[in-house]
Amino acid sequence: MSSQSNVMPESTLRAQGIAAAPFPAARLMYWSVRRELWENRAIYVAPAGVACVFLFGFSISILHLLVEMRAAPWLDVMQQRELFGQPYEFAEDLIMGTALLVGLFYSVDALYGERRDRSILFWKSLPVSDLITVLSKAAVPIVVLPLLAFAITVLTQWMMLLLSSAVLLGSGQNVAILWSRVGIFHRWPMLLFHFLCIHGLWQSPIYAWLLLISVWARRVPILWAALPPLTIGIVEKVAFNTTYFGSLIGNRFTGGSEGIAIMERGRAMDPMMLFAPLNFLINPGLWIGLAVTAAFLATAVRLRRGRGPI
Protein backbone atom coordinates (compact mmCIF):
# COMPACT_ATOMS: atom_id res chain seq x y z
CA MET A 1 0.00 0.00 0.00
CA SER A 2 2.75 2.41 0.96
CA SER A 3 4.88 1.92 -2.13
CA GLN A 4 2.25 3.58 -4.28
CA SER A 5 2.14 6.85 -2.44
CA ASN A 6 5.72 7.81 -3.11
CA VAL A 7 4.82 11.35 -4.03
CA MET A 8 3.33 11.91 -0.62
CA PRO A 9 5.89 11.24 2.08
CA GLU A 10 3.44 11.96 4.83
CA SER A 11 0.90 9.41 3.71
CA THR A 12 3.71 6.89 3.28
CA LEU A 13 4.49 7.38 6.92
CA ARG A 14 0.88 6.93 7.82
CA ALA A 15 0.43 3.91 5.64
CA GLN A 16 3.37 2.24 7.32
CA GLY A 17 1.52 2.68 10.56
CA ILE A 18 4.35 4.49 12.30
CA ALA A 19 2.13 7.21 13.61
CA ALA A 20 -0.69 5.00 14.73
CA ALA A 21 -1.00 1.29 15.32
CA PRO A 22 -4.59 0.19 15.87
CA PHE A 23 -5.72 0.29 19.46
CA PRO A 24 -6.18 -3.05 21.24
CA ALA A 25 -9.74 -4.30 21.53
CA ALA A 26 -9.64 -4.01 25.33
CA ARG A 27 -9.04 -0.27 25.06
CA LEU A 28 -11.91 0.18 22.61
CA MET A 29 -14.09 -1.90 24.92
CA TYR A 30 -13.16 0.20 27.95
CA TRP A 31 -14.03 3.48 26.25
CA SER A 32 -17.21 2.05 24.77
CA VAL A 33 -18.42 0.95 28.20
CA ARG A 34 -17.47 4.33 29.69
CA ARG A 35 -19.44 5.98 26.94
CA GLU A 36 -22.48 3.89 27.94
CA LEU A 37 -22.14 5.01 31.55
CA TRP A 38 -21.95 8.66 30.46
CA GLU A 39 -25.10 8.32 28.40
CA ASN A 40 -27.08 6.14 30.81
CA ARG A 41 -26.49 7.55 34.23
CA ALA A 42 -29.46 5.54 35.49
CA ILE A 43 -27.14 2.53 35.57
CA TYR A 44 -25.60 3.81 38.78
CA VAL A 45 -27.96 6.60 39.81
CA ALA A 46 -31.03 4.35 40.07
CA PRO A 47 -29.57 1.62 42.35
CA ALA A 48 -27.74 4.24 44.42
CA GLY A 49 -30.88 6.35 44.68
CA VAL A 50 -32.99 3.39 45.76
CA ALA A 51 -30.31 2.48 48.32
CA CYS A 52 -30.41 6.00 49.73
CA VAL A 53 -34.19 5.96 50.06
CA PHE A 54 -33.96 2.56 51.69
CA LEU A 55 -31.35 3.82 54.14
CA PHE A 56 -33.62 6.68 55.05
CA GLY A 57 -36.45 4.26 55.79
CA PHE A 58 -34.11 2.00 57.70
CA SER A 59 -32.83 4.80 59.90
CA ILE A 60 -36.41 5.43 60.99
CA SER A 61 -36.85 1.72 61.70
CA ILE A 62 -33.89 1.78 64.07
CA LEU A 63 -36.29 3.23 66.61
CA HIS A 64 -38.11 -0.11 66.61
CA LEU A 65 -34.78 -1.86 66.85
CA LEU A 66 -34.16 -0.21 70.19
CA VAL A 67 -37.33 -1.84 71.53
CA GLU A 68 -36.67 -5.19 69.86
CA MET A 69 -33.15 -5.37 71.23
CA ARG A 70 -34.51 -5.64 74.76
CA ALA A 71 -36.41 -8.78 73.77
CA ALA A 72 -33.58 -10.24 71.74
CA PRO A 73 -31.78 -12.20 74.49
CA TRP A 74 -34.90 -14.31 75.02
CA LEU A 75 -35.17 -15.36 71.38
CA ASP A 76 -33.41 -18.42 70.00
CA VAL A 77 -30.63 -18.09 67.40
CA MET A 78 -32.89 -18.59 64.38
CA GLN A 79 -35.35 -15.98 65.57
CA GLN A 80 -32.52 -13.57 66.26
CA ARG A 81 -31.17 -14.11 62.78
CA GLU A 82 -34.56 -13.45 61.29
CA LEU A 83 -35.09 -10.36 63.40
CA PHE A 84 -31.74 -8.77 62.61
CA GLY A 85 -31.10 -10.20 59.18
CA GLN A 86 -34.41 -9.37 57.52
CA PRO A 87 -33.81 -5.68 56.70
CA TYR A 88 -30.50 -6.66 55.12
CA GLU A 89 -32.25 -9.16 52.88
CA PHE A 90 -34.78 -6.50 51.97
CA ALA A 91 -31.93 -4.22 50.92
CA GLU A 92 -30.47 -6.97 48.73
CA ASP A 93 -33.79 -7.73 47.07
CA LEU A 94 -34.57 -4.08 46.49
CA ILE A 95 -31.24 -3.33 44.84
CA MET A 96 -31.41 -6.53 42.80
CA GLY A 97 -34.87 -5.64 41.56
CA THR A 98 -33.73 -2.15 40.66
CA ALA A 99 -30.71 -3.48 38.80
CA LEU A 100 -32.93 -5.88 36.87
CA LEU A 101 -35.33 -3.11 35.84
CA VAL A 102 -32.51 -0.76 34.86
CA GLY A 103 -30.87 -3.54 32.84
CA LEU A 104 -34.10 -4.33 30.99
CA PHE A 105 -34.84 -0.73 30.06
CA TYR A 106 -31.23 -0.08 29.16
CA SER A 107 -30.99 -3.08 26.85
CA VAL A 108 -34.18 -2.46 24.94
CA ASP A 109 -33.02 1.07 24.09
CA ALA A 110 -29.27 0.52 23.71
CA LEU A 111 -29.11 -0.07 19.96
CA TYR A 112 -32.38 1.69 19.17
CA GLY A 113 -31.66 5.09 20.71
CA GLU A 114 -28.51 5.62 18.65
CA ARG A 115 -30.53 5.12 15.47
CA ARG A 116 -33.38 7.32 16.62
CA ASP A 117 -31.11 10.27 17.47
CA ARG A 118 -28.97 9.61 14.37
CA SER A 119 -25.80 9.50 16.45
CA ILE A 120 -25.12 6.04 14.99
CA LEU A 121 -23.59 7.93 12.06
CA PHE A 122 -21.10 9.52 14.43
CA TRP A 123 -20.27 6.26 16.21
CA LYS A 124 -19.80 4.57 12.89
CA SER A 125 -17.39 7.27 11.76
CA LEU A 126 -14.94 6.00 14.39
CA PRO A 127 -12.79 2.88 14.18
CA VAL A 128 -14.93 0.81 16.53
CA SER A 129 -16.38 -2.38 15.08
CA ASP A 130 -20.00 -3.45 15.40
CA LEU A 131 -18.79 -6.42 17.43
CA ILE A 132 -17.13 -4.19 20.05
CA THR A 133 -20.16 -1.90 20.12
CA VAL A 134 -22.62 -4.73 20.69
CA LEU A 135 -20.36 -6.47 23.22
CA SER A 136 -19.85 -3.25 25.18
CA LYS A 137 -23.60 -2.72 25.30
CA ALA A 138 -24.15 -6.32 26.38
CA ALA A 139 -21.46 -5.97 29.04
CA VAL A 140 -23.44 -3.23 30.79
CA PRO A 141 -26.36 -5.38 32.03
CA ILE A 142 -24.37 -8.62 32.16
CA VAL A 143 -21.19 -7.48 33.94
CA VAL A 144 -21.17 -3.81 34.91
CA LEU A 145 -24.62 -3.60 36.45
CA PRO A 146 -24.27 -6.75 38.61
CA LEU A 147 -20.88 -5.57 39.91
CA LEU A 148 -22.21 -2.10 40.60
CA ALA A 149 -25.31 -3.47 42.29
CA PHE A 150 -23.14 -5.74 44.42
CA ALA A 151 -20.93 -2.83 45.47
CA ILE A 152 -23.94 -0.69 46.30
CA THR A 153 -25.52 -3.53 48.28
CA VAL A 154 -22.37 -4.08 50.33
CA LEU A 155 -22.06 -0.36 50.96
CA THR A 156 -25.72 -0.10 51.97
CA GLN A 157 -25.47 -3.03 54.35
CA TRP A 158 -22.37 -1.55 55.95
CA MET A 159 -24.14 1.75 56.44
CA MET A 160 -27.14 -0.06 57.94
CA LEU A 161 -24.94 -1.94 60.37
CA LEU A 162 -22.95 1.13 61.36
CA LEU A 163 -26.09 3.23 61.74
CA SER A 164 -27.84 0.73 63.98
CA SER A 165 -24.65 0.09 65.97
CA ALA A 166 -24.21 3.79 66.56
CA VAL A 167 -27.78 4.16 67.77
CA LEU A 168 -27.53 1.07 70.00
CA LEU A 169 -24.22 2.17 71.48
CA GLY A 170 -25.62 5.65 71.96
CA SER A 171 -28.46 4.23 74.00
CA GLY A 172 -26.02 2.11 76.02
CA GLN A 173 -26.93 -1.28 74.58
CA ASN A 174 -24.73 -4.18 73.58
CA VAL A 175 -24.10 -4.60 69.84
CA ALA A 176 -22.50 -8.03 70.04
CA ILE A 177 -25.75 -9.90 69.34
CA LEU A 178 -26.53 -7.70 66.39
CA TRP A 179 -23.09 -8.16 64.78
CA SER A 180 -23.08 -11.90 65.30
CA ARG A 181 -26.62 -12.41 64.00
CA VAL A 182 -26.97 -10.12 60.96
CA GLY A 183 -24.81 -12.59 59.09
CA ILE A 184 -23.95 -10.35 56.18
CA PHE A 185 -20.17 -10.67 56.04
CA HIS A 186 -19.96 -14.31 55.12
CA ARG A 187 -22.86 -13.85 52.73
CA TRP A 188 -21.05 -11.30 50.59
CA PRO A 189 -19.00 -13.80 48.57
CA MET A 190 -22.27 -15.68 47.94
CA LEU A 191 -23.96 -12.43 47.04
CA LEU A 192 -21.21 -11.58 44.58
CA PHE A 193 -21.57 -15.02 43.06
CA HIS A 194 -25.32 -14.52 42.85
CA PHE A 195 -25.01 -11.14 41.16
CA LEU A 196 -22.43 -12.28 38.63
CA CYS A 197 -23.89 -15.69 37.84
CA ILE A 198 -27.63 -15.22 38.18
CA HIS A 199 -27.97 -11.55 37.25
CA GLY A 200 -25.12 -11.77 34.78
CA LEU A 201 -24.82 -15.14 33.14
CA TRP A 202 -28.16 -16.80 33.90
CA GLN A 203 -30.24 -13.80 32.84
CA SER A 204 -28.01 -12.95 29.88
CA PRO A 205 -30.38 -14.41 27.23
CA ILE A 206 -33.01 -11.90 28.33
CA TYR A 207 -30.65 -8.96 27.81
CA ALA A 208 -29.33 -10.40 24.56
CA TRP A 209 -32.91 -10.77 23.29
CA LEU A 210 -33.66 -7.15 24.15
CA LEU A 211 -30.45 -5.96 22.45
CA LEU A 212 -31.38 -7.96 19.36
CA ILE A 213 -34.81 -6.36 19.28
CA SER A 214 -33.35 -2.91 19.87
CA VAL A 215 -31.10 -3.21 16.80
CA TRP A 216 -33.86 -4.76 14.68
CA ALA A 217 -37.05 -2.82 15.47
CA ARG A 218 -37.84 0.31 13.51
CA ARG A 219 -40.25 1.49 16.17
CA VAL A 220 -41.51 0.62 19.68
CA PRO A 221 -38.84 -1.98 20.46
CA ILE A 222 -40.35 -2.54 23.88
CA LEU A 223 -43.52 -3.88 22.25
CA TRP A 224 -41.58 -6.12 19.86
CA ALA A 225 -39.57 -7.45 22.76
CA ALA A 226 -42.57 -8.30 24.91
CA LEU A 227 -45.21 -9.43 22.41
CA PRO A 228 -43.63 -12.53 20.85
CA PRO A 229 -42.88 -14.29 24.17
CA LEU A 230 -46.30 -13.30 25.45
CA THR A 231 -48.02 -14.63 22.33
CA ILE A 232 -46.10 -17.90 22.41
CA GLY A 233 -47.03 -18.37 26.06
CA ILE A 234 -50.71 -17.73 25.45
CA VAL A 235 -50.87 -19.90 22.31
CA GLU A 236 -49.20 -22.72 24.21
CA LYS A 237 -51.70 -22.38 27.03
CA VAL A 238 -54.65 -22.41 24.60
CA ALA A 239 -53.35 -25.22 22.41
CA PHE A 240 -51.91 -27.62 24.95
CA ASN A 241 -53.06 -26.18 28.26
CA THR A 242 -49.45 -26.15 29.43
CA THR A 243 -47.16 -23.35 30.58
CA TYR A 244 -43.71 -24.65 29.76
CA PHE A 245 -42.69 -21.59 27.79
CA GLY A 246 -43.91 -19.23 30.47
CA SER A 247 -42.02 -21.06 33.18
CA LEU A 248 -38.96 -21.21 30.97
CA ILE A 249 -38.98 -17.41 30.74
CA GLY A 250 -39.87 -16.99 34.41
CA ASN A 251 -37.03 -19.30 35.27
CA ARG A 252 -34.62 -17.00 33.45
CA PHE A 253 -35.76 -14.06 35.55
CA THR A 254 -35.69 -15.75 38.94
CA GLY A 255 -32.47 -17.65 38.34
CA GLY A 256 -34.19 -21.02 38.28
CA SER A 257 -34.30 -23.53 41.10
CA GLU A 258 -30.53 -23.55 41.29
CA GLY A 259 -30.31 -19.79 41.63
CA ILE A 260 -32.98 -19.67 44.29
CA ALA A 261 -31.29 -22.49 46.15
CA ILE A 262 -28.03 -20.59 46.18
CA MET A 263 -29.66 -17.57 47.79
CA GLU A 264 -31.62 -19.66 50.27
CA ARG A 265 -28.62 -21.65 51.34
CA GLY A 266 -26.54 -18.55 51.49
CA ARG A 267 -29.03 -16.90 53.77
CA ALA A 268 -29.48 -19.97 55.88
CA MET A 269 -25.70 -20.36 56.12
CA ASP A 270 -26.11 -23.90 54.88
CA PRO A 271 -22.73 -25.65 54.57
CA MET A 272 -24.00 -27.00 51.24
CA MET A 273 -23.67 -23.52 49.81
CA LEU A 274 -19.96 -24.12 49.40
CA PHE A 275 -20.82 -26.51 46.62
CA ALA A 276 -23.46 -24.31 45.05
CA PRO A 277 -21.14 -22.63 42.55
CA LEU A 278 -20.10 -26.02 41.28
CA ASN A 279 -23.71 -27.15 40.95
CA PHE A 280 -24.48 -23.99 39.11
CA LEU A 281 -21.61 -24.29 36.68
CA ILE A 282 -22.47 -27.84 35.68
CA ASN A 283 -26.12 -26.92 35.18
CA PRO A 284 -26.93 -27.44 31.46
CA GLY A 285 -29.47 -24.62 31.68
CA LEU A 286 -26.61 -22.17 32.18
CA TRP A 287 -24.77 -23.32 29.08
CA ILE A 288 -27.88 -23.49 26.93
CA GLY A 289 -28.62 -19.94 28.04
CA LEU A 290 -25.13 -18.77 27.18
CA ALA A 291 -25.37 -20.36 23.74
CA VAL A 292 -28.66 -18.56 23.13
CA THR A 293 -27.04 -15.31 24.30
CA ALA A 294 -24.16 -15.80 21.87
CA ALA A 295 -26.55 -16.47 19.00
CA PHE A 296 -28.68 -13.38 19.77
CA LEU A 297 -25.61 -11.16 20.08
CA ALA A 298 -24.02 -12.49 16.88
CA THR A 299 -27.25 -11.71 15.02
CA ALA A 300 -27.31 -8.24 16.58
CA VAL A 301 -23.74 -7.60 15.36
CA ARG A 302 -24.66 -8.60 11.82
CA LEU A 303 -27.80 -6.48 11.85
CA ARG A 304 -26.05 -3.39 13.18
CA ARG A 305 -23.66 -3.39 10.27
CA GLY A 306 -26.42 -2.34 7.90
CA ARG A 307 -28.33 -0.13 10.32
CA GLY A 308 -28.56 3.61 9.93
CA PRO A 309 -30.68 6.41 11.35
CA ILE A 310 -34.44 5.86 11.45
Partner: protein, 291 residues
Protein backbone atom coordinates in the same frame (compact mmCIF):
# COMPACT_ATOMS: atom_id res chain seq x y z
CA UNK B 1 -3.16 3.55 -5.74
CA UNK B 2 -6.34 5.51 -6.09
CA UNK B 3 -8.03 6.62 -2.92
CA UNK B 4 -11.41 5.49 -4.16
CA UNK B 5 -12.08 3.18 -7.04
CA UNK B 6 -15.60 2.11 -7.99
CA UNK B 7 -16.67 -0.01 -10.91
CA UNK B 8 -20.29 -0.68 -11.73
CA UNK B 9 -21.41 0.35 -8.27
CA UNK B 10 -25.11 -0.45 -7.91
CA UNK B 11 -27.60 -0.10 -5.11
CA UNK B 12 -31.31 -0.73 -5.15
CA UNK B 13 -33.83 0.05 -2.46
CA UNK B 14 -36.76 -2.18 -3.31
CA UNK B 15 -37.70 -1.15 -6.84
CA UNK B 16 -35.88 2.18 -6.70
CA UNK B 17 -32.46 2.20 -8.31
CA UNK B 18 -30.34 4.57 -6.23
CA UNK B 19 -27.00 3.84 -7.89
CA UNK B 20 -27.06 2.65 -11.49
CA UNK B 21 -23.52 1.55 -12.21
CA UNK B 22 -21.30 4.31 -10.82
CA UNK B 23 -17.78 4.45 -12.21
CA UNK B 24 -15.40 6.65 -10.30
CA UNK B 25 -11.73 6.95 -9.51
CA UNK B 26 -10.49 9.53 -7.04
CA UNK B 27 -6.74 9.94 -6.73
CA UNK B 28 -5.12 10.80 -3.43
CA UNK B 29 -4.71 14.47 -2.68
CA UNK B 30 -7.76 15.66 -4.60
CA UNK B 31 -10.70 17.66 -3.34
CA UNK B 32 -13.73 16.33 -5.16
CA UNK B 33 -17.02 18.18 -5.30
CA UNK B 34 -19.86 15.70 -5.75
CA UNK B 35 -22.90 17.56 -7.01
CA UNK B 36 -26.33 16.31 -7.90
CA UNK B 37 -30.01 17.11 -7.49
CA UNK B 38 -31.97 15.74 -4.55
CA UNK B 39 -32.33 12.00 -4.77
CA UNK B 40 -29.54 11.68 -7.34
CA UNK B 41 -27.73 9.09 -5.25
CA UNK B 42 -24.99 11.26 -3.72
CA UNK B 43 -25.58 10.21 -0.14
CA UNK B 44 -26.08 6.57 -1.17
CA UNK B 45 -22.74 6.63 -2.98
CA UNK B 46 -21.01 8.20 0.01
CA UNK B 47 -22.63 5.71 2.39
CA UNK B 48 -21.34 2.86 0.26
CA UNK B 49 -17.87 4.42 0.33
CA UNK B 50 -18.07 4.72 4.11
CA UNK B 51 -19.15 1.14 4.64
CA UNK B 52 -22.61 2.06 5.88
CA UNK B 53 -24.45 0.23 3.11
CA UNK B 54 -24.08 -3.07 1.27
CA UNK B 55 -23.79 -2.66 -2.51
CA UNK B 56 -23.28 -4.54 -5.73
CA UNK B 57 -20.28 -4.00 -7.94
CA UNK B 58 -16.68 -3.30 -7.11
CA UNK B 59 -15.59 -0.72 -4.61
CA UNK B 60 -12.22 -0.16 -2.97
CA UNK B 61 -11.49 2.66 -0.57
CA UNK B 62 -7.81 3.01 0.35
CA UNK B 63 -7.43 -0.57 -0.79
CA UNK B 64 -10.15 -1.91 1.49
CA UNK B 65 -13.66 -3.22 1.06
CA UNK B 66 -15.70 -0.71 3.06
CA UNK B 67 -18.62 -3.02 3.79
CA UNK B 68 -16.63 -5.80 5.44
CA UNK B 69 -13.79 -3.69 6.86
CA UNK B 70 -15.51 -0.55 8.08
CA UNK B 71 -13.79 -0.42 11.44
CA UNK B 72 -10.29 -0.72 9.96
CA UNK B 73 -11.19 1.76 7.24
CA UNK B 74 -12.32 4.31 9.80
CA UNK B 75 -8.77 4.62 11.10
CA UNK B 76 -7.96 6.37 7.84
CA UNK B 77 -11.30 7.94 6.97
CA UNK B 78 -13.37 10.53 8.76
CA UNK B 79 -16.74 11.82 7.80
CA UNK B 80 -19.35 14.36 8.68
CA UNK B 81 -22.77 13.10 7.63
CA UNK B 82 -25.49 15.26 6.16
CA UNK B 83 -27.24 15.76 9.48
CA UNK B 84 -26.13 16.82 12.91
CA UNK B 85 -25.10 13.47 14.33
CA UNK B 86 -23.17 14.31 17.46
CA UNK B 87 -25.16 12.71 20.29
CA UNK B 88 -27.14 15.41 22.05
CA UNK B 89 -26.43 14.10 25.55
CA UNK B 90 -22.66 14.14 25.29
CA UNK B 91 -20.51 16.82 26.92
CA UNK B 92 -17.67 18.44 25.03
CA UNK B 93 -14.97 16.97 27.29
CA UNK B 94 -16.57 13.55 27.01
CA UNK B 95 -16.54 13.52 23.24
CA UNK B 96 -12.87 14.61 23.30
CA UNK B 97 -12.02 11.86 25.79
CA UNK B 98 -13.93 9.26 23.85
CA UNK B 99 -12.48 10.02 20.43
CA UNK B 100 -8.99 10.17 21.96
CA UNK B 101 -9.77 6.83 23.57
CA UNK B 102 -10.80 4.99 20.42
CA UNK B 103 -9.06 6.75 17.53
CA UNK B 104 -5.32 6.10 17.12
CA UNK B 105 -4.91 9.10 14.82
CA UNK B 106 -6.72 11.69 16.92
CA UNK B 107 -4.58 14.57 18.14
CA UNK B 108 -6.38 15.94 21.16
CA UNK B 109 -4.18 19.01 21.49
CA UNK B 110 -5.03 19.97 17.95
CA UNK B 111 -8.76 19.64 18.58
CA UNK B 112 -8.40 21.74 21.72
CA UNK B 113 -6.58 24.47 19.84
CA UNK B 114 -9.41 24.61 17.30
CA UNK B 115 -11.95 24.77 20.11
CA UNK B 116 -9.95 27.54 21.79
CA UNK B 117 -10.85 29.77 18.83
CA UNK B 118 -14.55 29.24 19.55
CA UNK B 119 -16.72 29.99 22.54
CA UNK B 120 -17.54 26.33 23.20
CA UNK B 121 -17.10 25.40 26.87
CA UNK B 122 -15.93 21.89 27.74
CA UNK B 123 -18.61 21.30 30.34
CA UNK B 124 -21.47 22.02 27.95
CA UNK B 125 -23.65 19.38 26.39
CA UNK B 126 -24.13 19.20 22.66
CA UNK B 127 -27.87 19.79 23.10
CA UNK B 128 -27.12 23.17 24.67
CA UNK B 129 -24.89 24.32 21.80
CA UNK B 130 -26.17 26.27 18.82
CA UNK B 131 -26.24 24.62 15.43
CA UNK B 132 -23.16 26.53 14.36
CA UNK B 133 -21.27 25.53 17.49
CA UNK B 134 -22.11 21.86 16.97
CA UNK B 135 -20.71 22.11 13.45
CA UNK B 136 -17.58 23.79 14.83
CA UNK B 137 -17.18 21.05 17.42
CA UNK B 138 -17.60 18.30 14.86
CA UNK B 139 -15.17 20.02 12.51
CA UNK B 140 -12.63 20.43 15.32
CA UNK B 141 -12.86 16.69 16.02
CA UNK B 142 -12.56 15.72 12.39
CA UNK B 143 -9.70 18.10 11.63
CA UNK B 144 -7.73 16.72 14.56
CA UNK B 145 -7.91 13.24 13.02
CA UNK B 146 -4.99 12.54 10.75
CA UNK B 147 -7.14 10.86 8.11
CA UNK B 148 -6.30 10.10 4.51
CA UNK B 149 -9.86 10.57 3.31
CA UNK B 150 -12.39 13.03 4.63
CA UNK B 151 -15.99 12.79 3.48
CA UNK B 152 -18.28 15.77 4.02
CA UNK B 153 -21.94 15.31 3.14
CA UNK B 154 -23.68 18.68 3.21
CA UNK B 155 -21.41 19.83 6.05
CA UNK B 156 -22.70 23.39 6.14
CA UNK B 157 -26.42 22.66 5.87
CA UNK B 158 -28.40 25.11 7.94
CA UNK B 159 -25.42 27.25 8.91
CA UNK B 160 -25.29 30.97 8.35
CA UNK B 161 -23.03 32.46 5.73
CA UNK B 162 -20.26 33.41 8.17
CA UNK B 163 -19.98 29.91 9.55
CA UNK B 164 -20.01 28.44 6.06
CA UNK B 165 -17.15 30.65 4.94
CA UNK B 166 -15.17 29.91 8.12
CA UNK B 167 -15.79 26.22 7.63
CA UNK B 168 -14.19 26.05 4.20
CA UNK B 169 -11.45 28.49 5.17
CA UNK B 170 -10.26 26.36 8.05
CA UNK B 171 -10.64 23.22 5.99
CA UNK B 172 -8.29 24.61 3.35
CA UNK B 173 -5.88 26.44 5.62
CA UNK B 174 -5.64 24.18 8.65
CA UNK B 175 -6.41 20.75 7.29
CA UNK B 176 -5.80 20.16 3.62
CA UNK B 177 -2.14 19.34 2.89
CA UNK B 178 -2.22 17.78 -0.60
CA UNK B 179 -1.76 14.29 0.78
CA UNK B 180 -5.31 14.05 2.02
CA UNK B 181 -8.33 13.43 -0.12
CA UNK B 182 -11.57 15.27 0.54
CA UNK B 183 -15.00 14.58 -0.92
CA UNK B 184 -17.66 17.16 -0.37
CA UNK B 185 -21.29 17.30 -1.43
CA UNK B 186 -23.36 20.41 -1.12
CA UNK B 187 -26.23 22.28 -2.70
CA UNK B 188 -24.39 25.54 -2.08
CA UNK B 189 -22.25 24.89 -5.15
CA UNK B 190 -20.87 28.39 -5.54
CA UNK B 191 -19.20 28.05 -2.12
CA UNK B 192 -16.96 25.23 -3.18
CA UNK B 193 -16.11 26.61 -6.62
CA UNK B 194 -12.66 27.72 -5.47
CA UNK B 195 -12.16 24.92 -2.97
CA UNK B 196 -12.37 21.83 -5.15
CA UNK B 197 -9.85 20.41 -7.60
CA UNK B 198 -12.25 17.96 -9.22
CA UNK B 199 -15.91 18.09 -10.08
CA UNK B 200 -18.38 15.26 -10.49
CA UNK B 201 -22.08 15.51 -11.32
CA UNK B 202 -24.37 12.68 -10.39
CA UNK B 203 -27.92 12.35 -11.68
CA UNK B 204 -30.34 9.42 -11.45
CA UNK B 205 -27.70 7.18 -9.95
CA UNK B 206 -25.14 7.76 -12.71
CA UNK B 207 -22.05 9.89 -13.11
CA UNK B 208 -22.91 12.40 -15.84
CA UNK B 209 -19.81 14.57 -15.66
CA UNK B 210 -16.39 14.08 -14.15
CA UNK B 211 -13.51 16.46 -14.80
CA UNK B 212 -10.74 18.22 -12.97
CA UNK B 213 -11.23 21.96 -12.59
CA UNK B 214 -8.49 22.56 -15.17
CA UNK B 215 -10.37 20.41 -17.63
CA UNK B 216 -13.58 22.26 -16.86
CA UNK B 217 -11.82 25.52 -17.66
CA UNK B 218 -10.48 24.37 -20.99
CA UNK B 219 -13.57 22.44 -21.97
CA UNK B 220 -16.49 24.65 -21.04
CA UNK B 221 -17.05 28.18 -22.11
CA UNK B 222 -19.78 30.67 -21.40
CA UNK B 223 -20.48 33.41 -23.86
CA UNK B 224 -22.35 36.63 -23.26
CA UNK B 225 -23.87 37.57 -26.59
CA UNK B 226 -25.75 40.64 -27.84
CA UNK B 227 -29.15 39.86 -29.32
CA UNK B 228 -27.92 40.57 -32.87
CA UNK B 229 -25.15 37.98 -32.58
CA UNK B 230 -27.29 35.24 -31.05
CA UNK B 231 -28.06 33.40 -34.27
CA UNK B 232 -24.40 33.23 -35.23
CA UNK B 233 -23.55 31.93 -31.78
CA UNK B 234 -26.36 29.35 -31.87
CA UNK B 235 -24.84 27.96 -35.05
CA UNK B 236 -21.87 26.82 -32.95
CA UNK B 237 -24.17 24.40 -31.08
CA UNK B 238 -24.26 25.63 -27.51
CA UNK B 239 -25.28 23.08 -24.87
CA UNK B 240 -27.37 25.63 -23.03
CA UNK B 241 -28.84 29.04 -23.48
CA UNK B 242 -30.38 31.44 -21.02
CA UNK B 243 -31.65 34.99 -21.23
CA UNK B 244 -30.30 37.90 -19.23
CA UNK B 245 -31.30 41.57 -19.31
CA UNK B 246 -29.15 42.71 -22.21
CA UNK B 247 -28.74 39.58 -24.25
CA UNK B 248 -28.21 35.84 -23.90
CA UNK B 249 -25.66 33.62 -22.24
CA UNK B 250 -24.73 30.55 -24.22
CA UNK B 251 -22.68 27.65 -22.93
CA UNK B 252 -20.36 25.64 -25.13
CA UNK B 253 -18.61 22.38 -24.59
CA UNK B 254 -15.35 21.70 -26.43
CA UNK B 255 -15.80 24.72 -28.67
CA UNK B 256 -12.98 26.63 -30.30
CA UNK B 257 -12.30 29.37 -27.77
CA UNK B 258 -11.01 31.93 -30.28
CA UNK B 259 -13.86 31.42 -32.70
CA UNK B 260 -16.44 31.75 -29.96
CA UNK B 261 -14.77 34.78 -28.43
CA UNK B 262 -15.32 36.85 -31.58
CA UNK B 263 -19.07 36.74 -30.93
CA UNK B 264 -19.07 38.24 -27.46
CA UNK B 265 -17.60 38.12 -24.01
CA UNK B 266 -16.27 34.63 -23.14
CA UNK B 267 -15.54 33.23 -19.68
CA UNK B 268 -15.43 29.99 -17.72
CA UNK B 269 -18.89 29.10 -16.43
CA UNK B 270 -19.65 28.83 -12.73
CA UNK B 271 -20.37 25.38 -11.31
CA UNK B 272 -23.98 26.31 -10.64
CA UNK B 273 -24.64 27.31 -14.25
CA UNK B 274 -22.79 24.29 -15.55
CA UNK B 275 -24.83 22.09 -13.27
CA UNK B 276 -28.11 23.55 -14.47
CA UNK B 277 -27.05 23.24 -18.10
CA UNK B 278 -25.86 19.63 -17.84
CA UNK B 279 -28.57 18.27 -15.56
CA UNK B 280 -31.44 20.12 -17.21
CA UNK B 281 -30.32 18.94 -20.65
CA UNK B 282 -30.08 15.41 -19.44
CA UNK B 283 -33.52 15.52 -17.89
CA UNK B 284 -34.96 16.97 -21.11
CA UNK B 285 -33.38 14.19 -23.12
CA UNK B 286 -34.67 11.61 -20.68
CA UNK B 287 -38.17 13.02 -21.00
CA UNK B 288 -37.86 13.07 -24.78
CA UNK B 289 -36.75 9.47 -24.79
CA UNK B 290 -39.65 8.54 -22.58
CA UNK B 291 -42.05 9.94 -25.13
Amino acid sequence: MACIEARGLRKEFGTTIALDGIEMRVEEGRILGLIGPNGAGKTTALNAILGLLPYQGELQVLGRDPWTQRDQLMRDVSFIADVAVLPRWIKVWQVLDYVAGVHPRFDRAKAESFLAKTTIGYARRVRDLSKGMVAQLHLALVMAIDARLLVLDEPTLGLDILFRKQFYDSLLNDYYDRSRTIIVTTHQVEEIQHVITDLMFINRGRVVLSYSMEEIESRFLELMVHPDQVDAARALKPIDERQVIDGSILMFEGADRQQVATLGEARTPGIADLFVAVIANQDKQAQGAAR
